[in-house]
């Protein structure tokens, strides 16, 4: 009982939804993130900690440093 179970639930749910929305495994979602990072880094200066992708039902959002969250 060290972690509230709601944190575990949210984490599992977020991973499931990404996989469902992409229709692939969570592992493939991770690989997509890496590939997108490498691709974007060819054209602009980015660092991993300021790079994040978010997959919703209809879009893929790429967030990077300097962009308003």
């Amino acid at each position: 009982m060290s972690v509230h179970s709601v944190f575990v639930a949210k984490e599992r749910l977020k991973n499931l939804l990404i996989a469902d929305r992409m229709q692939c495994t969570p592992d493939a979602a991770d690989r997509l993130t890496k590939d997108l990072y490498l691709t974007v880094s060819k054209y602009m200066e980015i660092t991993p900690e300021y790079f994040d992708i978010e997959i919703t039902r209809s879009d893929i959002h790429i967030k990077y440093a300097g962009e308003n969250k």
Partner: protein
């Protein structure tokens, strides 16, 4: 022209039928002419939740097959001003109706009602396709659990693909005590993850079980679920009803009263 709303969820057992019944009854209490349709072929339940199971003569398949006229199959709920039920068929399966037939049926009766609510079966197969065929908007019911929310996300995607753009979320059976101690996802957690408009929240309330046992509605009754259902009905009519704040700290009186009730 009536508004046609499908009540759906993907996952079974989250409260679609109870929601359909209570919203239908609530809207009729607010003076609207309402038709509720049970589209779950083979697993007829909406009539039971509404306490109308002994009045069924004809059903939706009879209407579509032309064995009876629509007016003959409609059951008027005499407890409320303008509320009608079109029951499902218990002995047919989901292939007895096609989405096109469903769409036509609804087009034919839309003018006669202010609201038509479609109680959708669980799953994403033909029963779901039938239920959404004639709908213009949806209420997606979920509970604050990983599996139910996952299915809700899937359903919202399918609704959008089918051209239904107005999809609103109803979070059912929220356990306020569990949210407070960090063991259940909160309303904010769910809406943030699903990124969809919230229509309302129904707290877990044993009155719902008691009312359903008796085939009675809970909407409009005193208590958390009853007033939440009524607020949802008002929102459907376009009223600006603020979301209930279930997370506010208990007042001294409530604390004393729960202490009292514990024994």
């Amino acid at each position: 022209m009536g508004e046609v709303i499908v009540i759906t969820s993907g996952k079974g057992g989250v409260g679609k039928t109870t929601t359909t019944a209570n919203i239908g009854i609530g809207l009729s209490m607010l003076g609207k002419k309402v038709l509720v349709i049970d589209t779950d072929l083979g697993l007829r339940n909406l009539d039971v939740v509404m306490g109308l199971e002994n009045r069924i003569v004809y059903n939706i398949v009879d209407v579509i097959e032309g064995s009876c006229r629509l007016k003959q199959a409609l059951i008027k709920d005499k407890r409320f001003p303008e509320l009608y039920l079109l029951p499902s068929a218990q002995t047919k399966d989901k292939t007895s109706i096609s989405p096109e037939q469903m769409k036509k049926l609804i087009e034919d009766i839309r003018e006669d009602f202010d609201f038509i609510l479609l109680d959708c079966p669980a799953g994403i197969e033909q029963g779901f396709q039938n239920a959404i065929a004639g709908a213009g908007r949806s209420i997606v019911v979920t509970t604050p659990e990983v599996s139910a929310i996952r299915d809700a996300d899937r359903i919202i995607g399918l609704l959008e693909t089918s051209g239904i753009r107005k999809n609103e979320l109803l979070i059912n059976r929220l356990r306020i005590d569990m949210v407070k101690r960090g063991d259940m996802m909160s309303v904010d957690d769910v809406t943030e993850i699903l990124a969809v408009d919230l229509l309302g929240v129904i707290p877990d309330d044993e009155q719902v079980v008691i009312a359903t046992n008796q085939g009675e509605p809970v909407v409009g009754e005193a208590g958390l679920a009853g007033s939440s259902y009524m607020n949802i009905c008002r929102r459907l009519l376009g009223e600006e009803v603020p979301m209930e704040d279930y997370m506010k700290p208990e007042s001294l009186l409530e604390k004393l009263s729960s202490l009292f009730h514990r024994n």
